[in-house]
């Protein structure tokens, strides 16, 4: 697989050298936000890996959560004359001038994972996940799993007001709308953390007759689900069977819980944003194919049937 890709890459490279005047994405600059979460670290690992597989020389710059570092990195990439720039922007605003500089230098820019507020002709494309879709994949799983049985669901929301929390809530509600057997009885924020997930789940269990009244938990991320699973166990119930657990992100720890039968399903927010980005870039470099302005990554559903232990082994070294 890898070798065939490399062959293809080499083929493309060779044809490029002949047809165009040697414009091949050989050197790509990548400005990463930082390493604030395990997911971010995994994204970095996978981007480096993807570049290596394709024979791309990736120049990596860690911005340590600061926009000025990212702008500096962008300018240095432009000065070095890289063939393309990947950037995971830390904030949405303030990119116009540096994006224009890149455009003037005819360097395509691809946004990873997050969007910017600039006009969309300033960048080639954006690769990201549809947060509403993630929520609806989780909701659809629950609808299918229950097959019409009555079920009271409790929800652990992300940080109040954050876009993942709002969108993942909406997506889930859209998916369960029209299914009167599913009722969302409690919803509270767990701030995307294990500690709060556990604490809030404890209160849900107390408030709903020791948990007897709850049939499923929907958590906006896996970390809160992992905390909640501990709370359910401490209350003397079995997570995964007494209370179904579905969450989003697909971090390695949830696969351990799934392997132990304590979690039921998770929706992947793939850290491999660079793969689709490099594909779009290669097509653009080859014959100028303009990619769509937003490339949506797959929101893959994992259940206990997907050999969670094997997935855990795959994921655990990505830096999550």
């Amino acid at each position: 697989m890898k070798s065939s890709k490399a062959m293809l890459g080499a083929g493309v490279l060779a044809s490029m050298l002949i047809i165009s005047s040697g414009v091949q994405a050989q050197t790509v600059g990548f400005s990463q936000i930082g390493s604030e979460s395990g997911w971010r670290a995994a994204e970095t690992t996978l981007t480096l890996q993807q570049a290596k597989d394709r024979g791309i020389d990736l120049k990596f710059a860690d911005a340590q959560q600061k926009q000025e570092n990212q702008i500096k990195a962008m300018r240095s990439f432009i000065a070095q004359g890289v063939d393309a720039i990947l950037i995971a922007p830390v904030v949405a605003t303030g990119w116009d001038s540096v994006l224009e500089e890149a455009k003037e230098a005819e360097i395509p820019v691809i946004l990873l994972d997050r969007m910017v507020d600039s006009s969309d002709d300033l960048y080639l494309t954006a690769v990201g996940s549809d947060l509403v879709h993630e929520g609806s994949v989780a909701g659809k799983w629950l609808v299918d799993e229950l097959a019409g049985k009555d079920c009271n669901v409790v929800e652990l929301q992300g940080t109040t007001g954050s876009s993942p929390a709002i969108d993942r809530k909406n997506g889930f509600e859209q998916a369960i709308a029209g299914h009167d057997n599913i009722k969302l009885i409690r919803s509270q924020t767990g701030d995307f953390t294990r500690t709060k997930g556990k604490e809030v789940m404890e209160s849900f269990l107390k408030a709903e007759d020791g948990g007897k009244n709850i049939c499923a938990l929907y958590a906006h991320n896996d970390d809160m689900a992992v905390g909640a699973i501990q709370a359910i166990k401490e209350a003397g119930l079995k997570p995964g069977s007494d209370i179904l657990v579905v969450s989003i992100d697909a971090v390695p720890d949830i696969f351990q819980a799934m392997a132990a039968g304590e979690a039921n399903a998770t929706v992947e927010l793939t850290p491999n944003m660079a793969g689709p980005a490099f594909d779009a870039l290669a097509a653009y470099m080859k014959d100028g194919t303009m990619p769509p302005k937003f490339i949506q990554t797959e929101s893959k559903l994992y259940t206990q049937a997907d050999d969670p232990q094997a997935v855990y082994e795959q994921k655990k070294d990505l830096g999550y």
């Binding site: 604030e36 109040t160 294990r194 500690t195 556990k198 404890e202 408030a207 970390d223 501990q230 830096g319």
Partner: protein
Amino acid sequence: MTVMLPFLRRIMPQLITLAVIVGLISFMFPGFFTISIANGRLYGIPIDILNRGAPVALLAIGMTLVIATRGIDLSVGAVMAICGATAAWGITEGYSLAATLAMALSAGLVCGLWNGFLVAVLGIQPIVATLILMVAGRGVAQLITEGAILTFNHEGLIFFGSGSLFTVPTPVIIGVAAGALATLVVRRTALGMLIEAIGINLRASTLSGVNTRVLLIAVYMTSGLCAALAGIIAAADIRGADANNAGLWLELDAILAVVIGGTSLLGGRFSLIASLIGALIIQAVNTGILLSGFPPEFNLIIKAVIILIILILQSPTMRSVVIFFSRDPAGAGEVEKETVVP
């Protein structure tokens, strides 16, 4: 009995507040006082309040002593993260439980020593001195965990977060023991008085022979030690060290607990018991909000309003108003004289 009276009068406002909040929750939630045993452990809402309140209560012990010296320790949340990370690192590296705990507690003591050095030796203002560690501490914790949530499955360490002794959750036992020990040490010796003396007038205490420098450092180290205990509990509770979120903003809750407990931020007289009740009040409010089922957008507003009401009721102006209306005019004159004396 007569010895206890002034003490009871001191903590009466806090006790009444706690009773009112517990009353409110049990009114909304009739099953409040039901306590059963699940998995060999007490199980119920009051237990949750004690258990979840334990980390803030521990921080409040150290914070009370620091505030009594007219200082403040903003770094306790970050120190929790550092010590939790140290504990998780130690146990995953294969050190024994005793060695791991020793390392985590020493990390707390070192953090306290650093704060104490900046405040007592270099004379930097406490709010600035501890701000340094508050900002840098999470970075240190992230270096230890290498940016990820460092998980562990060591039953011995987990015991400190979700274990129980005679059906009582371990964090509650640690909190009560630390509170009792600290109270004994400061009130059965002259230490408490010396700490208050530093808070009232540092120079006068130094001139009258109190070794203020050593005492100040010791107080900050105590705060670091309390934060270390809280950090171990927080990490053990979720079986992992989360450098980004462990103890996040808890320094503010700890300061609030001390303030609700009636200790002045200007230093001087303090009450550990009142601060501990203050921590319980905060947790009771938190748990009450979670149980109430309001949308999460309202959480912080409800909490702020309740805290505001508590602080207004405790304010000196309010107190004199209450006393003014509850006594005859002749008595009111006496009270005014009383309030002048601090």
